[in-house]
């Protein structure tokens, strides 16, 4: 947790801002969501944003998302069918509702499987965890969108969300 070491892992860009929220966000346990370790998924789902941990959404959500990559939050994230199958298999096999994942079980509280939400940032538990984040922080030029987890969670790419 030494601030001076953070730029190594992070790149200098984010440092200024994360130092700002560091003190407050540091509280809490070591929330862990295993990062993507499949090279295809990392490449195809990790260029535009952090490759989100599969254990943050239920299998039904990943299936629904993968069925329409052509219109992916307004972007064209489509891949060829063979690649899509590899990605879907990986996401589904590691989904939040596969069971036995402590933090995933918590994160999915209040989500019904039939809903298949497409956004982590709209899960009731996620919203609650972030309710104290003030407006100006979301709008900060180093953040800009809730999906930019790494701006505040320096170790998100490693799976840690406790800071």
């Amino acid at each position: 947790m030494n601030i001076p070491y953070r730029p190594l892992a992070l790149g200098l860009l984010v440092l200024g801002f994360s130092a700002l929220v560091f003190g407050r966000a540091q509280a809490g346990g070591r929330h862990y969501f295993a990062p993507v370790n499949n090279p295809v998924v990392k490449e195809e789902c990790g260029s535009c944003h952090l490759a989100f941990a599969p254990s943050m959404l239920p299998a039904g959500s990943w299936q629904r998302m993968m069925a329409n990559l052509k219109d992916h939050f307004g972007d064209d994230a489509s891949v060829d069918p063979k690649t899509a199958a590899i990605i879907t298999d990986y996401l589904v096999a590691n989904a939040a509702d596969k069971g036995g994942l402590r933090y995933s079980d918590k994160l999915l509280r209040g989500v019904s499987a039939a809903n298949a939400p497409l956004r982590i940032t709209e899960l009731p538990k996620w919203t609650r965890e972030h309710r104290k984040v003030p407006d100006w922080e979301w709008k900060h030029k180093d953040v800009r969108t809730k999906a930019n987890c790494t701006a505040c969670h320096a170790d998100a790419a490693l799976g840690y969300y406790d800071e």
Partner: protein
């Protein structure tokens, strides 16, 4: 921990350097294909221009999405420096001199031209535009 990630970074950048050094082939093959297609579309075509490529890279089009009017919106103004997507993901420099492994995978190049031209111009780029842009970046 820092030692480990520094070592990994080093290994990764070395790997990238070697990957880039040996293979000038795919990039040139792809340029040759774009040239053929450009010639077919326009018999007066007489070669790619880094100058036109630079204009394509820096011009504000306004045909695509409002928050990405130009290639530089994500790739940055300095071709040898990194960029950043709207969702905060860092992008390696586009200049071949800064990232030698660039444009060595034809399918990757095509995939991103398609996505990014739509994002910025609101349409796909022509073979000539792609060739101009690649020529510009190869000389950067």
């Amino acid at each position: 921990m820092q030692l480990k990630s520094t070592a990994a970074l080093l290994a990764a950048s070395l790997a990238m350097m070697f990957a880039g050094a040996g293979i000038a082939g795919p990039r040139e093959d792809q340029l040759a294909q774009y040239a053929k297609a450009a010639k077919a579309a326009n018999p007066a075509f007489s070669g790619f221009s880094a100058e036109r490529g630079k204009t394509l890279h820096t011009q504000n089009f306004g045909g695509g999405k409002p928050d990405t009017p130009a290639c530089t919106a994500c790739h940055g103004k300095d071709t040898r420096a990194g960029g950043r997507t709207p969702a905060g993901k860092a992008i390696d420099p586009m200049a071949v001199s800064a990232t030698p492994s660039r444009y060595t995978e034809p399918a990757k190049v095509e995939k991103w031209f398609k996505r990014n031209c739509n994002e910025v111009l609101g349409r796909e780029c022509s073979a000539q535009e792609k060739g101009d842009w690649l020529t510009f970046m190869s000389g950067q």
